[in-house]
Amino acid sequence: MGKKRYSVFAVAREAVRHHTGWDRAWASPEPRKKYDVIIIGAGGHGLATAYYLGRNFGITNVAVLEKGWLGGGNTGRNTTIIRSNYLQDPSAAIYEKSRSLYETLSQELNMNIMFSPRGVIMLAQTEHERRGYQRTAHANALQGITTEFIGPARVKELVPIINIDGPRYPVLGGLWQARGGTARHDAVAWGYARACSEMGIHVIQKCEVTGIRRDDGGKVAGVDTSRGSIDCDKLGIVVAGHSGVLAQMAGFRLPIESVALQALVSEPIKPCMDVVVMANTVHGYMSQSDKGEMVIGGGADGYNNYTQRGSFHHVEETVRALVETFPIVSRLKMLRQWGGIVDMTGDRSPIISKTPLAGCFINCGWGTGGFKAIPGSGWGFAEMIAKGHSPLTDAFGLERFREGRFIDESVAAGVAH
């Protein structure tokens, strides 16, 4: 379609034309009768999958179906943290692929995703955690990921507002990844959608999948949607918290439970913290947005629900613990609080897999840490859909539960993920 590129010259040109010349960033086409590939879910992971199908494999007869609006689920509800300091080799590989793709994503998509590699510290506040992170730092050294275990003095230097000798939760050190950071979550979804649209991939919003059809041979044949029935050769399910609902339509079960994870932001204040700090012992993590708000991530509910709102006693828990570590936040007013539905697996690692339904693939189980994985997950899942398997995702198959090959990140990642 030859969209106009975004650049400083485009901004200058539009400034003198009263911004009358901007195109729509992506098209809103009517669905075709049939596509080569249908992706269910236009969040970050779904759009990235479609993008890399087109970019890496030339498959552009693709539709991305979204029941709500683009990036309106967890993509727009997370705390935007990007890091790759995982313990296990398969996780480190896919998260590091992802993090490295983020580095150049703005240029590649011609959309400023505001990737800010400001550094991520995961605080060690118990002796157990300190040993755990030292182990992770050693593992990362073997995996070729640059992380470092730092002592309390260096933590204080990086985060002047921190209280390192709090009586209950003293800071014993931290796992420091200097090239971790944050990005603008909406822009990631918008950037991928715009790039997909430019390649001729259909991004179809307000199109809820209500059923999955199979042909006589038991292979996937298409989907029924709120905008009619659409045929496809291959189907990718990328719906995070609602994976269980879609799996039920496709006729298989998943080792996944959906819970609400919540976050909140404070009123904007002057710049006071230029890194991301995660405190997993107390289930809280915090960064300062470009607007000056302190973005705070909290814990997940312990029981299944789809309410997308979270609960106040979890907010209280999170804030109570953060106040000791960051005394400065004690007088802050909190502006907004929200929740997203995350899909938790038993080993806290994702499922990127073929399914019992032939031609149907699933990418889910990212739990509390999906945003950081968007480019890598899309890259690997696209390869799996196009070629049947991908070295990046081979270890994340559904069969790992039956075979006992867990990728156990529950200890390394804790709840803040």
Partner: protein, 109 residues
Amino acid sequence: MLILECPNCGVMAEEAELVPGGEAHLKRFGPESSDADFEGYLFQRENPRGVHFERWRHAHGCGKWFHAARCTQTLEVFATYPAQTTAPPQDIRDAISAKRPGWTWREIR
């Protein structure tokens, strides 16, 4: 905040007083069972958007286990019932049917 009535001690207990115990009425499969059954028992979980049955423990109260029938979409609590049963009682199923016609959960309806 979720409030459940503990059928053991009769207290209307707030979420913070309770500990969730996951899916209810799991059938245990041991060493003699098939791989599929064992995998199902260990890992596969019902994850409905709607009617769900769960185990809960009144941890900061009487300390005893019980069951709850809930809607995961609206957080409506249909009923709580004692732990000493392998399926939801019929009167609770009927009460749910009145509110959510056509509901199913595993093979139960």
